[in-house]
């Protein structure tokens, strides 16, 4: 098979890659926001429980999470579809990382903002939603773009639970003919042309945000 047909075969898997990425974002972004805010906001036992949930999804290897949901849950009677397994495992794992960025962004805010808000008579929740989050959002945007890129790359793993994504298609072609150079080069290329533009956009935004940090540090 020539390079273009291999690439075409690989892109047959783009739909699954896309679906898992999309559903993954639906798990990742809310999880990161909700648990990041909760971890920032709460104290004591509640915070401990929130942290425990975050840590489970963040500190477990994503392959383990994937196989847990796919092979172990049925032993307990829970049969999730492969797409659900893939998007949940990837999404919540990446969301776990995202929650730390959300919390860091909130913590990086000037305490004065919170005090000023309270002095104006706003409730703590209003301060959070009207003052802290909007400002932190600006710092969080690169994180969410990064989550998207991480997700797209993570979908390669769902090939291991028989989802017909791009990596799976590549391995299928590899079963039909022996051409590792062509196939795996094409596969790298396929992911690159999706993720690279996203990286550039992310970098533009990051540069725009950190305009104040520049200086001459060449040596």
């Amino acid at each position: 098979m020539d390079f273009t047909s291999i690439l075409g075969g690989i892109f047959e898997g783009l739909r699954v890659t896309g679906i898992v990425t999309l559903y993954g974002m639906l798990y990742a972004v809310p999880f990161a926001l909700v648990f990041g805010v909760l971890q920032y906001f709460t104290r004591g036992t509640v915070q401990w429980m929130v942290t425990a949930v975050i840590e489970f999804w963040r500190s477990s290897p994503v392959l383990v999470l994937l196989f847990l949901l796919y092979y172990a849950l049925p032993s307990f009677g829970v049969n999730l579809s492969s797409v659900t397994v893939g998007s949940m495992a990837l999404g919540l794992n990446i969301g776990g990382y995202g929650s730390q960025s959300v919390r860091a962004a909130l913590q990086a805010l000037d305490r004065g903002q919170v005090e000023a808000g309270k002095a104006l008579g706003l409730t703590r929740l209003d301060v959070l939603s009207l003052i802290e989050l909007p400002q932190a959002f600006v710092a969080m945007t690169p994180t969410f773009i990064n989550q998207f890129i991480q997700l797209v790359k993570g979908t390669a793993l769902v090939s291991l639970i028989s989802l017909t994504d791009m990596t799976f298609r590549a391995k299928e072609i590899a079963q039909l003919e022996y051409n590792p150079v062509g196939i795996y080069t094409a596969l790298l290329f396929a992911y690159f042309i999706i993720c690279y533009p996203a990286t550039i956009i992310g970098r533009r935004i990051e540069n725009w945000l950190s305009a104040g940090q520049r200086g001459n540090r060449d040596f």
Partner: protein, 292 residues
Amino acid sequence: MQHISKFGILRGLLPGLVMALAGLAHTPAMATTADVIKEKGKLTIGIHNRSPWGFRDADGQAAGFHPDLVRAAFAPLGVKDIEFVISDFGALMPGLIANRFDMIASGIAITPARCKAVIFSEPDLAVGDSLIVAQGNPYNIHSYADVAANSKIRLGGGRGTLNTKNAIDAGVPESQMVLFQDTESLISAVIAGRVDAATLSAPSVISALQDRNIKGVERAVPFRGLVRNGNPAAMYTAIAFRAADVGLRDTYNAQLIKLKGDGTVKKIMEKYGFTDEEEVPSSVTTEQVCSE
């Protein structure tokens, strides 16, 4: 003025998300697999994407000896569609048990160990092991005993395959075995020199070596595989079902007898290059092989 706080919206989303998650998980079926198949008119098979056993052809359909057999068996019963899930060979059994598909139709052999976990149909083919070795067979390997005799030889095998088990049963020490999760890695390993030989079923070897891109390896001929009670041990392939699906298995067995009788099995065998050598003697039954 009411502020619609962002936090409030999020708090509203969370229960919704939880419910959506719960809805996505479907409860275990109360009906048997056979009922579900009859109702939907389609069944799902597990294959490991390897010719001639079970693979995805150019049209995106399940092809191969066992998918064709299953198709022929269930078509008269009203099953119009055969869907498939591709899985690594070693993951087929766990996948079947985890309800990922209704049956395995991919050249899986009956073994006593597997019989404890799933139930098999009557056997449909009898195949032997074969080795892929480097061009010229430098280590002069013609049997598992040859491998065991030379501690420098590394033998590759698929994870969870009977070929691997046969090699070990024939005396190859585990220290000389390297296991791979799929056939591509296994064959690549011989080509790259990561292992000196790879054990697969004879039909798989023949089929693999038909690929013109594969150079530098050959089939070890002659080859004497595992010998049991003085006879070369044959692997008997069959269709595997979940232990609870006895009714479905029996339905299939009844169909299989018909297909053997009217020559359909013979035709499918010929289509994939099997000869009379691979025909199962009528004296061999699943019960027999399971209790070896």
